[in-house]
């Protein structure tokens, strides 16, 4: 894969609702690396991820994604096209079955891997026909992981991916992130817990 060489954040300032969330946020993550964003509630972990994904415009500062092809992406919407997203809300439709949800994500993102195999990987293939409204919180999280794989995006942005997952689910998450980074991807993860893999830790909100 290795389409990205570096994600660079420089002097990022974020204000929301007239309140400064963080300022002077700067870090860089190179291909193959995982960065964890840590910090107390309200430190701006989610805001930082939303800015990185291009969903939220920054108040000031710059986010630059260096592609291995040599050019630099700094536009928010273009950055969004490189982003695989796991947020607080999982985007799972309860009225659709697990496999219908997954097939929708696959078609929306133009996935090049088979849906069935990915559901197998995240441990949901036995309940593929179950309407998603009957899924537990942890199973919904697993479906989010399936979507992340299906997206095929090089930059993974994950907001508290471990919440409500069991021990096996946590191991699976760490494994998936590890494989993604080994293949040349980048993962930036907001979390309160240790991921169980080699990651650079970045602390937000000491200012």
């Amino acid at each position: 894969m290795a389409v990205l060489s570096l994600v660079e954040v420089q002097d990022l300032l974020c204000e929301r609702g007239g309140r400064r969330v963080f300022r002077n946020l700067s870090f860089a993550v190179a291909t193959g690396q995982t960065l964890t964003l840590e910090g107390p509630n309200g430190a701006g972990k989610t805001s930082a991820l939303r800015i990185l994904s291009g969903l939220l415009p920054q108040t000031a500062g710059e986010v630059r994604v260096h592609m291995s092809a040599g050019y630099v992406v700094s536009d928010g919407e273009e950055r969004g096209r490189l982003t695989g997203w796991v947020g607080h809300y999982d985007g799972v439709k309860g009225q659709l079955s697990v496999s219908e949800n997954a097939s929708f994500f696959a078609a929306l993102y133009g996935a090049r891997v088979a849906v069935q195999g990915v559901l197998d990987r995240v441990g949901l293939s036995r309940i593929a026909d179950l309407p998603a409204q009957y899924l537990s919180a942890g199973q919904r999280k697993r479906l989010s992981l399936a979507r992340l794989i299906l997206s095929g995006r090089p930059l993974w942005l994950m907001d508290e991916p471990l919440s409500s997952l069991d021990a096996a689910g946590r191991r699976l998450t760490a494994e998936l992130i590890g494989e993604h980074c080994d293949a040349g991807g980048i993962a930036i993860v907001a979390t309160h817990e240790t991921l169980g893999l080699d990651a650079t830790r970045f602390f937000l909100g000491q200012a």
């Binding site: 994904s53 415009p57 997203w85 985007g91 009225q95 659709l96 929708f104 078609a107 929306l108 979507r147």
Partner: protein, 221 residues
């Protein structure tokens, strides 16, 4: 399957599943129209005179019923983030959602309308213009509705505000739509149908951009 089709099919599927708005709109249309004679009285002459207008107003209100969830449901459960980050631009996503809304709400209303015309003693020359005008006019309801839905997507219980925004804007569609039916019945040629079509084309062409801009604005908050 392209991303556009994927979103279109998903929204259509959701409209027909539990909590979707497709059958609700048809039931509302049918019920309100069948209640009219009880309120107005059994005067067939009177009913046939008001039939065109009543059918059009009721169809427009029925199309509003499921609009408030058009973007809001996806906003609340995080799907809108996923869609915004997908290869599909928000303009195309809004188009897919409008089209899904029309196919599951507008089109069934069009198909149901001749039957309900019968209940209101709509004169024979009015049926084809009724069907044609609803066919051409209801996409504008979905289009303007999508703009309203995108503007109010982050407001809880935004449905009422949505109606306040949308209803004044759809008055041209109502005037020209009902006018088309009345033109045909009374034999007056005032060109209502042409104006209806022109308004629809303009709305359908422009509303994806307006809706996408409002979604973008709401997501960036």
């Amino acid at each position: 399957m392209s991303a556009f089709q994927a979103l279109l099919y998903r929204d259509m599927k959701l409209a027909f599943r539990a909590g979707g708005g497709a059958s609700l709109a048809m039931a509302f249309f049918g019920l309100v129209i069948s209640l009219q004679p009880f309120g107005v009285g059994p005067d067939l002459m009177l009913l046939s005179r008001i039939a065109g207008g009543v059918l059009w107003v009721t169809a427009a209100l029925a199309a509003m019923l499921s609009l408030d969830r058009l973007f809001q449901a996806d906003y609340e459960d995080g799907s809108l983030d996923i869609i915004a980050l997908s290869p599909l631009s928000l303009e195309w996503a809004a188009t897919a959602k409008m089209l899904a809304h029309w196919l599951t709400t507008g089109l069934p209303l069009v198909l149901l309308s001749p039957l309900l015309g019968l209940l209101l003693n709509l004169p024979a020359p009015g049926y084809l213009p009724l069907i044609m005008s609803l066919m051409i006019g209801t996409p504008a309801l979905s289009g303007i509705g999508a703009i309203g839905a995108a503007l109010t997507l982050s407001i809880r219980r935004g449905g009422l505000i949505l109606v306040l925004i949308v209803l004044p804007l759809i008055s041209p569609t109502l005037i020209f739509g009902a006018g088309t039916v009345i033109d045909a019945i009374e034999g007056t040629g005032r060109g209502a149908f042409a104006l209806l079509a022109a308004f629809s084309v303009a709305v359908v062409g422009l509303s994806p951009f307006a809706a996408a801009a409002s979604v973008r604005l709401n997501l960036a908050n």
